[in-house]
Symmetry: none
Subunit: 200 residues, 4 copies
């Protein structure tokens, strides 16, 4: 008895997700280059050939993995600013960012690695830029709401801090003092500091 279209669609969706999920894990753990299609097949329990029904190539799979990751990140950060107080909003974003990096450092490492590699995935650059711009705009909001001068540049600098700290952490997870730096960054972006108390 043939399956209904819906059943087929579900089957497809499940396989696709399984591959995507498994690839994400392995790419994150071993890096894109060192992860072979066979490894993905073994890890996910599907046949090698099947991957090519869902993704045109290994590179396309990487793209899908990164798309999924970036979408996730975009969504999480979009939901970040619930605080009405702009300084608290800022603090939330900072805290959230450093939590995210701790939760799945491997994925971020993959992202960072691909991001600096020119031309590994055609067209990915643009997407990454879109994400970056979106994040920076998110970041700009609280500065603007707090009437901080030069909100755009402030956002760029905070973005750079977060980026830089996250990357240092990812590279050197055991040693990097993420807690201390988090505290320091929060202090630097506290109401007291930003509104000009004597010491920052």
């Amino acid at each position: 008895m043939p399956r209904t279209d819906q059943q087929l669609a579900e089957l497809r969706e499940e396989s696709r997700t399984r591959i995507l999920q498994g690839a994400m894990e392995l790419f994150a753990r071993y890096g894109y280059t060192k992860t072979s299609v066979r490894m993905i097949a073994d890890h996910t329990g599907i046949a090698q050939g099947l991957m090519y029904r869902y993704f045109a190539s290994k590179e396309a799979l990487l793209r899908a993995v990164l798309d999924s990751f970036m979408q996730q990140v975009a969504q999480i950060l979009a939901e970040a600013g619930t605080a009405s107080d702009p300084f608290e909003h800022l603090a939330q974003i900072i805290r959230l960012s450093f939590e995210l990096i701790q939760q799945q450092p491997d994925s971020w490492q993959l992202f960072y690695a691909i991001r600096v590699q020119p031309d590994v995935v055609a067209g990915l650059h643009e997407e990454i830029n879109i994400l970056s711009v979106a994040l920076m705009q998110q970041l700009e909001i609280p500065f603007r709401r707090a009437s901080i001068a030069n909100a755009h540049n402030e956002a760029a600098i905070l973005f750079a801090i977060i980026d830089g700290v996250c990357q240092q952490y990812v590279i050197n997870r055991t040693i990097y003092p993420l807690q201390a730096v988090t505290t320091a960054v929060l202090a630097k972006y506290s109401r007291a500091t930003l509104t000009g108390a004597t010491s920052q």
Copy 2:
């Protein structure tokens, strides 16, 4: 008649440099993995086999490329702090960093790519860490001399800013507003701001 020792040494030095230089360019442009030994040979105009007279392996070549780069960077930054005024010192370091990234963005891109890729070169992580620590210590000096509280964390944050900004620039050279950000960072680390004038 055999060549003299000096002729030989010159010949060797020239070939070695040519390979190193060409490899640097290609690694930076296409990434380590996507650059094949054949490509290096073709690009530099030497035979494939010759590379192995000067470098034990493709990996050793990468190491040499990175070592050369890191040594250069370490030296430049070590000579950065000539100003007696700690705030000027800070400004010098910031300016210099952003100049360096503009001067050879390809090399930095390669460096950033390798840095987040675990295990591409055995033992390289340690070297990179040593460099990072050295740079952070350089950065700490002016904060300390300026009697800024929590100099260590301040250095970490400034380091993150520079790292983050440089990486953004490298990824998106044409669009990233490096000038504006430089100015903003300099303002943020000016005497006026750090010693607590009303607005930062």
Copy 3:
């Protein structure tokens, strides 16, 4: 529709056998070193890469070839001594040995070549020694049963004769008078000679 497990097993078995067989022929004909993986692929009509699904390396393939050969030899010689009379037993072994060398001289040649080459295959030496010792022990039995003095040394000498003759034959198949030598060896190890009739 995926193949059934049995179909798969058959497919695999056929490929494996084909590679093993082809490798045996080429190794025997050209020697291990001069036989390239490409040659084996071309000769057997399979793709180069496929070999590595069945054998971990070219060396592993050689090992498999030799193991298969040695196992065969060990089994054949183990079944050699069916005669109740020790002298007839001896004669059977001698005849059988010289028959075997005629039946597959190439395989023996490969075996002899590898045997004198130290370190071509790690750990193979021990296996070869085990086989040698086993064969010598086989050889010792009839001497002992015939109450010949110094059976151990007699076995060593007969072993050397067989080895020496086989090797000469293999090197120079067209010219070496294997028949005549076989007859002479049989005479030397006949009951009459061994039990001390006037002439040997």
Copy 4:
């Protein structure tokens, strides 16, 4: 001041000998395939290119090495038979053979390895055959002088014994009981045994 022709000839001869000697050592120690031309150059202290002035190729060098070895062996064995008594003559040959193998097992191992390898050196087979035949003829003499029946086959068998024993020894130098086997072979070819005393 130009050198005289004779001086040049001596220079040539010395270089040639040096290469030949060094190659022999390395071929014997590591085997032909595993010895690179560079290794020979380093070992002998001459330039790589120089080898090609004296030998057309690495293979030609091997040929020369083996020629030299075979010639040496032929000469030694030719001088072996000084005893007037044919049985003593036989004993001398046997003893000498087993001494030779102990003196330079590496060289013999090289010889054995090349000998069973088809086509490694073009035309070498014939030379080896010539040597074999010469040695067998040497061996035949005492049998004939002792009026042993079937001297030709007896020589073939003794030749096989020596060959087999030497090879076993070479393969397994530390374990093979060369002394005991030597004694046993000498006993087997003693006057008493050959002329038909009761036990062999």
